[in-house]
């Protein structure tokens, strides 16, 4: 922790970066901290409670601006950064990544190749909560799944916190704001909620890195992160990628293979 503070302070003092995105102690859990001087870098913390995916800020032009900045990134954030890079949303020369490896060593990752090499070592696994709910869903019949999700969705009041928390929802105009035609009604209603969440999952195919930020952000606790997570797990063998591993150029849906499955096609 001390090392991170020191390094951040030095980077800022020497003008290597103008902004460090990190975490500070919050009321209940750590919250994001934007350090612009070495003074504020003293407030930085980093531990296992720091799960807020800071990659979401990296595409906010008003925040990161034109200068170089550093971000303190746990593994989930690193995966998001890789995906953003593949989608042409980040450039190497503007970003410096600080992370702490499992042995507690501070690592500085400069190029995306560095990040990819680092990310490769980590396997993406289901946590206890994911395992529990997903295995429950696996046992349900189709009708039960429909009921389950309708029940969950009935709580959704379309605050779009899931969208705001997701680092990969960086569109300047979201499809719910497109009104010619109005594909999905923006207000909360069973149909509009269902359409929104199916749409969100479709938009995440081959992109979601299962950071769980959407689920964490949901104020009414709908396990929406499991929709994209399950989708990701199911699609990985289908399209030949390994969940959580650095993405390659070209998205799973914008590429194809001659022998993709088609038993369902008459």
């Amino acid at each position: 922790m001390e090392k991170i503070r020191e390094r951040a302070a030095t980077l800022l003092a020497e003008g290597v970066v103008t902004l460090v995105l990190g975490y500070e102690e919050g009321t209940k859990r750590p919250r994001p901290l934007f350090c612009r001087n070495s003074e504020s870098a003293r407030k930085l913390i980093f531990d296992s409670r720091c799960i807020h995916n800071l990659a979401v800020y990296l595409t906010k032009k008003e925040l990161v601006g034109k200068d170089r900045f550093a971000v303190i990134a746990p593994i989930a954030t690193l995966r998001s950064i890789m995906q953003l890079y593949v989608e042409n949303q980040l450039s190497e020369d503007k970003l410096l990544v600080l992370t702490v490896d499992p042995s507690g060593e501070l690592r500085e990752l400069v190029t995306f190749e560095d990040i990819a090499g680092y990310v490769e070592q980590f396997e993406l696994k289901r946590g206890e909560r994911e395992q529990e709910i997903l295995s429950k869903i696996d046992e349900m019949s189709r009708e039960e799944r429909w009921k389950f999700w309708m029940e969950e969705m009935s709580h959704c009041f379309k605050c779009y916190a899931c969208r705001s928390a997701c680092p990969l929802c960086y569109c300047s105009k979201c499809v719910v704001e497109v009104n010619r035609p109005q594909w999905i009604n923006p207000w909360p209603a069973p149909l509009a909620n269902m359409e929104w969440h199916i749409n969100r999952a479709m938009h995440m195919v081959g992109r979601c890195t299962a950071c769980g930020a959407c689920g964490d952000a949901c104020p009414v606790g709908i396990p929406i992160d499991l929709i994209t997570r399950k989708m990701m797990e199911d699609m990985a063998p289908e399209f030949g990628y390994i969940p959580g591993q650095p993405a390659k150029k070209g998205n799973a849906l914008s590429t194809w293979k001659l022998d993709d499955r088609e038993q369902f096609i008459r």
Binding site: N88, Q89, C171, S172, K173, C174, V175, W183, K249
Partner: protein, 666 residues
Amino acid sequence: MSKIGVFICHCGENISATVDVERVAREVGGMEGVAHAIDYKYMCSDPGQTFIKEAVKKYNLDGVVVGACSPRMHEPTFRRACAEAGLNPYLCEMANLREHCSWVHEKSEETTEKAIDLVKMLVQKVKKNKPLDSIKVPVTKRALVIGGGIAGIQASLDIANTGHKVILVERDPSIGGHMSQLSETFPTLDCSQCILTPRMVEVAQHPNIKLYTYAELESLEGFIGNFTAKIRLKAKSVDYSTCTGCGACIQKCPVKKIPSEFNAGLGTRTAIYVPFPQAVPNKPVIDRVNCNYYKRGACKICEKTCQVGSIQWDREDEIVTEEVGAVVLATGFDVKGADFFPEYGYGKYKDVLTGLQFERMASASGPTFGEIRRPSDGVIPKKIVFIACAGSRDPAKGIPYCSKICCMYTAKHAMLYQHKVHDGESTVFYMDIRAGGKNYEEFVRRAIEEDTVNYVRGRVARVYEKDGKLIVKGVDTLLGGQQVEIEADMVVLATAGVANCGSEQLAQKLHVSYDPYHFFAEAHPKLKPVETNTAGIFLAGACQAPKDIPETVGMASGAAVKVAALFSNDELVREPLVAVVNRLAPPLYSTCVGCFMCETACPYNAIEHEDIRGRDGSLIKTIAKVNEGLCQGCGTCVAFCRSKSIDIQGYTHEQVYAEVMSLLND
């Protein structure tokens, strides 16, 4: 409010026999925004079209729906009629009441109701239609042909003879390609050079052809009708404007042991060289890798020999830029060579040759002046074995395809051998004989029957040397897999034809697709064999797949016609049914966020990057832009775009959404 005109056709009785057309017109006529609705016996007839034209003017219509046959049949007819009446043709749509309704259903209430739904659907669509203008792209009437083998030569001559300028680029110091290496050609056994060299000379002398030899394509930018090609002219070290091609420098060059590429390594050449006596242009280049001066800084004997002072030691590569409207790719193929066949001892035994080497040996201008002699000791072989399918049709070797020409040239080789060595004995090991082509089968039969070539159906497992002989071990599958062992003096492998080296990189430079074996991919395997998926780039010859000379020449002429057709107009007029990326006022400029998923999805490389810059020139963002010259209008990008920033004219989100909503509304 819209003013839509609806015209329901009886199609004689084809529609009206099962659909109550009057009711269709009546019910659709009551829709909001429909200004006029009628039914008539033959809408496509002259009076029918006149109804439409008059109604457009009388009711000032801003959209037309014709409920008749399939739009695949008469859409152009009715769109033209609308255009003649002054209505933008893209404001006219057709509802398919015949093929999709009256012909497939019995006369019933439901059939009429379905017809009403179909017409209503198109009315809702047409309300969202926008007037569109055809896309006009200017055309630079100059072609670039890459590769100076027979394919490139033929394509260049054909294009040049239509009166258009051609730039022919050849990688080697001379044009001619593989065909110039061949001895005689099947199935007529006429001498390859005798038929080729006149064409090579014609290329050099043609007023419409600009020839760049010893040159390679550096880059190609742009799109159909408007390409900019950068061509690297490799330094020849000889000034061609003064060189007379006397050849004195070649005689005196002290570096004489360089394996000759033209002779497939069987002969040698000097460091300053002309690849072969009939080369075009017939002037030398200096091979800087092997030249004593470039290697060690001393020699310059050629300079002393040259009486006109043409040697230019400091000459550097030069890049020239050419504007062209079309490109013909004719880069040909290569054959598998050394160490690909350890089981046949190739590369180890001097007397195991490739077909191309045998070709040079059999050629009157070759290293042995046409005599078949063992490279190891110069003795005339009395027993010779030809192995067909060396590499080809062998998935284990990564070449599952048939190289197509080997059966024929192997028969030719055996024949030539028998003609030259009368007491010789030749054996061909083959898998199947593929002699599809005019006079081809007869040719093979002649080899077997008249020239007594021994054909054995089976594969050769191994070739090894023993007491100065090559022992060929194989099986005869027609004799129940019986082992065959031949003590041969020479073995010739019909090695697989493969994509030319560098074809993958070239394809990437040109943005054309290629198959798993790096042959360039045609746009459609049957109906567009000379087109690529990139508009304006065409294929000729073996760069697409192995093929023989007549096929190559035919394909080259085909490509030339495609180019000539493109050049027959000053402007390329295209249907405006292409994708567009939305543009908005600042600060958004566009809802596109530049993830470029569309770029990977587009089969036509039509998505470009467009930098949006502020007044001070600073980059605000990079968004996608559709190149109208390249886009073919499939709309795959549209379905990808998460923010719906890209749309396709003629099938816009609003249009298809309106159709779906209308169709399902009760």
